[in-house]
């Protein structure tokens, strides 16, 4: 209670500096928030894509029904594989004409069906990674009656690397803003300490522990940090809404992520304040 009351008076004493600190923390966490939003939406998109990740093995026309049935069985017993569906030449043509209606006339006129039969292999959910997809495709290609095994590797890889780039950019931005924020909070807290140096000196002479003296300043840092976190949350939500309205529909961040962001901002504020006050206390005492 005392700590909270004194933290508030510290904030009132230097409102501009406190505001700057809040803005710095806000920007820091905002850049992390933008990354989180990007990463989360990429994740959502990926899991969508991953749900469709499959290896398609195109079969040679001379493959016998028997060979295919045995191979299908073997492939389905791979640990990575969920199912393998046989699509005959006729079915392939039918599906193609249905999906690509503009060509349906062409297909019906064909005398020889040009489409190969295939096995559509779906992977188990926890094996839908670029590595496993490649491994399955390699094993399937080893069958002599398999003409070619295809999978969407490049595409999946590209999304993953996009995510890494976004992460790196956010980390650099986030760290530079966080450093600036820590410096500003440090200055604000140092000013609070100086404004109260007489009181602190008296506390020290009557035997107050550093912990007791530090508490109001830590609360001040925490409050500043949380305010910055809320600002970041607002900015992130604003960006989300703006993109949502004008470009594409997005998924909003999961609750634990936003909670973690707020907690991070609060802790950042508290650590910066703790560092500043520790240094000032050392300066004020024994010499």
């Amino acid at each position: 209670m005392r700590a909270l009351r004194e933290a508030m008076s510290g904030i009132r004493r230097a409102p501009v500096l406190t505001l700057l600190s809040v803005m710095a923390i806000g920007l820091s966490v905002f850049s992390i928030g933008l990354f989180a939003l990007t990463a989360h939406n990429i994740d959502v998109a990926l899991s969508d894509v991953e749900g469709r990740v499959e290896v398609v093995a195109y079969l040679r026309d001379d493959a016998s029904e028997e060979q295919i049935a045995i191979a299908r069985h073997e492939i389905e017993s791979f640990p990575e594989v969920e199912s393998a569906r046989y699509v005959s030449k006729v079915e392939a043509l039918y599906e193609a004409s249905r999906e690509l209606t503009e060509f349906s006339d062409v297909y019906s006129d064909l005398e020889v069906n040009p489409l190969p039969a295939s096995l559509e292999i779906r992977l188990e959910p926890d094996h839908r990674t670029p590595d496993d997809v490649e491994a399955v495709a390699d094993r399937v290609s080893a069958y002599q009656f398999v003409e070619e095994a295809r999978y969407g590797r490049e595409w999946v890889d590209r999304i993953y690397s996009l995510r890494r780039v976004a992460g790196g950019a956010a980390a650099i931005l986030g760290i530079s803003f966080a450093t600036g924020a820590a410096l500003l909070i440090g200055i604000a807290v140092r000013m609070s300490v100086l404004a109260r140096s007489r009181e602190i000196a008296i506390m020290q002479t009557v035997g107050a522990t550093d912990g007791y003296i530090r508490r109001p300043f830590l609360v001040e840092g925490l409050v500043t940090g949380l305010a910055g976190g809320l600002l970041a949350l607002g900015l992130t939500w604003g960006s989300y809404e703006a993109v949502q309205r004008t470009l594409v529909s997005l998924a909003w961040l999961p609750v634990p992520w936003t909670a973690a962001g707020l907690a991070f901002a609060g802790i950042l504020g508290m650590l910066a304040a703790g560092r500043a006050v520790r240094r000032e206390l050392r300066r004020l005492d024994v010499h």
């Binding site: 005392r2 000196a201 008296i202 024994v286």
Partner: protein
């Protein structure tokens, strides 16, 4: 109890503020620390309170030693050494009783215990009636008493008072001195810095330690160990 061994404190000037001082203040003892302005009295008190660290030599207070004490031990030491500043150092925005309670709150004493203890301390210094007054509403002597009550709050082994009668008229001065004698009678050692020659003359039975330009030039207890 309080022991200085060849203590020198230099602030970087041409001569040390305190130079090669040794004395021993025993448990329950009362002593004047005297000398002209600038002789080093305040510096000696702050060395004992470990607000200053000796440049050389050693200060021992109870089980604490200036050469070994760690930062986290300072609060414990400060609670065993009551310090009354020359300028009282009361918090202006707190009442007399709040100023005293403050010294108990910082030690983490439960609130329920603080109230009765503060009342007891204030009546001990004869200020029970002025508990609700702010420092600016109190006379110099009364402010001094609040400072004394605060210094006594944590039952110190020794009380250090820096020119406690310096700003007081003779009557108030005698009152404060009487209060220190009463406190001393209950077992607390007292080291009182003063350059009030008259006060010292009136109390010939009290030990006198005299400083001159940072050096100890006289100790009526005759020991300079």
């Amino acid at each position: 109890m309080v022991q200085l061994r060849s203590v020198t404190k230099s602030f970087g000037g041409s001569s040390a503020a305190v130079q090669d001082i040794s004395f021993h203040l025993r448990k329950g003892e009362f002593a004047f620390l005297t000398g002209d302005s600038g002789a080093g009295k305040t510096t000696v008190l702050k060395l004992i309170h470990m607000l200053h660290r000796p440049t050389s030599g050693e200060v021992r207070v109870s089980r604490y030693s200036s050469s070994r004490i760690r930062r986290r031990d300072l609060p414990g030491l400060r609670r065993r050494v009551g310090y009354i500043f020359q300028d009282f150092r009361l918090l202006e925005n707190l009442t007399a009783e709040e100023n005293v309670a403050f010294a108990l709150e910082v030690t983490g004493m439960p609130r329920a215990k603080i109230g009765p203890r503060v009342q007891k301390l204030l009546s001990q210094v004869g200020l029970a009636a002025r508990a609700q007054a702010f420092p600016r509403e109190l006379s110099g002597g009364e402010q001094q008493r609040v400072a004394v009550a605060r210094a006594l709050a944590n039952e110190p082994l020794v009380l250090l008072a820096d020119e406690p009668t310096g700003n007081l008229d003779e009557r108030a001065s005698a009152g404060v001195f009487g209060l220190f004698q009463k406190i001393n009678a209950s077992g607390t050692s007292v080291l009182m810095a003063t350059h009030d020659a008259e006060l010292i003359r009136r109390h010939r039975d009290v030990r006198v330690i005299e400083l001159e330009q940072g050096r100890l030039v006289f100790d009526s207890a005759g020991e300079t160990e």
